[in-house]
């Protein structure tokens, strides 16, 4: 491989979108309204579109005839490097929106920096994705407010979701070795520098939504090293089923 760090770096970005897209895709037809169904399907579609661009680029870097689908669907559970946040289940609509919001805020900040990357392909993908992710963030922010400041029931459910997912937020700002190498080359984004802006933005929305900002300082990590929650195995079993059952075929 020409540049192993760059390859790993790309997976670190794209796996997040892959797993979150997969989560959103399973909601289609089951949402609280036709409009939210369309929106969640649309976000899933955007994320998978981004995933394809990243993996196609990664496949080119790998230079050994592997394809975007090999990268998406033929790795083992320890080889996925998405953050734990995005693999959390669609427990209810509050969880789905809280997960979305907590990721979208990060995702937009990240892409704004990635746009400045020396790597022109990554900067171009970021440039295209920013438009989509701004939509996602607007949608999820609106729902945090609607549910947080809606009825007593929705307020409680949204608070529970935020409390439940909060423990997965800190990992967004951890650096892998590949991250560090890419930052040094002016290709990667130094995620540690995004942390302050992230919590500022998140806290402002939570406050407006009349929600409590969780105080816990205990956080979970491991996704970036391939050490996942028990949820990921099931998600991959579905994602990979066809490629595993019918290997080496074209679809």
């Amino acid at each position: 491989m020409i540049n192993e760090n760059l390859y790993k770096y790309i997976l670190g970005i794209a796996d997040n979108s892959l797993i979150l897209g997969q989560r959103l895709g399973s909601l289609t037809g089951h949402g609280p309204s036709l409009e939210t169904d369309i929106a969640c399907t649309n976000m899933s579609l955007d994320l998978f579109g981004q995933v394809r661009s990243y993996y196609q680029y990664a496949a080119k870097i790998a230079g050994d005839n592997r394809t975007e689908d090999d990268i998406a669907m033929l790795r083992k559970e320890r080889e996925y490097v998405n953050v734990l946040l995005v693999e959390q289940p669609n427990t209810d609509f509050a969880y789905t929106m809280a997960r979305q919001f907590l990721f979208d805020v990060y995702h937009l900040l990240f892409l704004q920096e990635l746009q400045k990357s020396k790597d022109l392909t990554l900067s171009a993908i970021a440039n295209k994705s920013i438009k989509e992710v701004s939509y996602h963030l607007r949608f999820s922010t609106d729902w945090i407010k609607r549910l947080g400041d809606g009825t007593a029931v929705s307020h409680q459910k949204m608070q529970d979701a935020i409390d439940g997912l909060w423990t997965y937020t800190d990992e967004l700002f951890h650096q892998t070795e590949a991250d560090k190498a890419m930052v040094a080359e002016g290709i990667g984004v130094d995620v540690t520098l995004l942390k302050e802006a992230y919590y500022e933005k998140v806290n402002a929305v939570l406050e407006e939504a009349t929600l409590e900002i969780p105080e816990s300082k205990w956080f979970q990590k491991g996704g970036k090293k391939g050490i996942h929650t028990e949820h990921l195995g099931y998600l991959l079993a579905e994602l990979q089923y066809m490629q595993r059952a019918y290997p080496n075929m074209e679809w």
Binding site: G25, G29, H30, P32, L34, R52, Y246, M249
Partner: protein, 318 residues
């Protein structure tokens, strides 16, 4: 209004339809015209929504990213079609909530085809190719139907449907040209979806109770049997082209009619499915009703928030 005045209005109305003028929401229309349109348009909208389920079933398992993206886009389009059609229906003075209630209580129907299960990936191909193909045959004439909002919705719907159908056929081509296992998968899907697709075009003319009236209002231009024949004549060569066999031993080209003769449809199965006893009727309704009930607190929250926001705005204005 006197009886004579109504007769007069009816005569004017029929004359407008005869002149191919569009009827618009604020125009006078016979009550039966309004009711028939609510029935057909809502049934159409419900079909789009319930139709998201059999295909949504394969989103998480699509075999490649390219196929996954296409499937997501398709299901999203269907939700959009549902939205247009509900809106068109609302122009006749019925609310979306009432229409949902009719669907959930079983009072309103949706297309019988969505009560069949999608059990392999090839079903995504068969559904696109056959089910959307049959739908297009039904729907293209509706682009010229007499009720303006319906006709306009159908222009958009049909464009996207033909795109979906091509996508479905492309999945079938790929499978039919793939490994023996893939080809078997495609043939099996064709075997299971062929007859239900023919049934989508409705009961035979002799048994179709709405046909005569619908023809008069241009809701229908051809009879069910004519449309079915058109579908068969168009689809058989497509199957042959990719080396798949139509599961009908009586299917034969009729030189004299320049059309295919085909075997007997199992109408008992059709009525069983229509009356709620197909393989997936109960699950489809459970999924729809479940989504609606579980989503109630979300919709309530959205309403409460909108009201609060409105109040704050008013306070600010003072």
């Amino acid at each position: 209004m006197s009886e004579e005045q109504i007769k007069n209005l009816e005569a004017q109305f029929e004359a407008r339809i005869a002149r191919d003028e569009k009827i618009e929401p604020k125009d006078w229309m016979p009550e039966k015209y309004r009711k028939t349109h609510i029935r057909q348009m809502s049934q159409h909208a419900h079909s789009e929504i319930v139709g998201m389920l059999p295909e949504g079933n394969w989103i998480t398992r699509a075999p490649s990213l390219r196929r996954k993206v296409a499937l997501l886009a398709k299901v999203q389009d269907e939700a959009g079609h549902g939205l247009y059609l509900y809106s068109a229906c609302e122009t006749l003075g019925v609310s979306r909530e009432e229409l949902y209630e009719q669907l959930h209580s079983g009072k309103a129907k949706y297309s019988s085809i969505f009560n069949y299960p999608t059990i392999t990936w090839a079903d995504m191909g068969a559904v696109g190719w056959l089910v959307d193909g049959a739908a297009i045959i039904n729907q293209v004439p509706l682009c010229n139907t007499s009720y303006g909002p319906y006709a306009r919705a159908m222009v958009r719907v049909c464009k996207e449907e033909s795109f979906h159908q091509r996508q479905g056929y492309e999945i079938m081509i790929k499978l039919a040209n793939g490994t023996p296992e893939q080809k078997d998968m495609a043939q099996d899907a064709l075997n299971r979806w062929w007859w239900p697709s023919l049934m989508m075009l409705g009961p035979t003319d002799a048994e179709s109770i709405h046909t005569e009236q619908s023809m008069k209002w241009k809701l229908k231009r051809k009879s069910n049997d004519d449309l079915r024949q058109q579908f068969i004549d168009q689809t058989v060569p497509q199957a042959e082209l990719i080396g798949l066999t139509i599961p009908d031993a009586d299917l034969k080209w009729n030189e004299e009619r320049q059309s295919y003769d085909f075997g007997e449809i199992n109408w008992d199965e059709f009525w069983q499915v229509v009356k709620g006893h197909g393989p997936m009727n109960k699950e489809r309704m459970k999924a729809r009703v479940g989504a609606w009930e579980e989503g109630e607190w979300v919709r309530d929250a959205a309403m409460a928030y909108a009201e609060k926001k409105q109040e704050r705005k008013q306070k600010q204005a003072i």
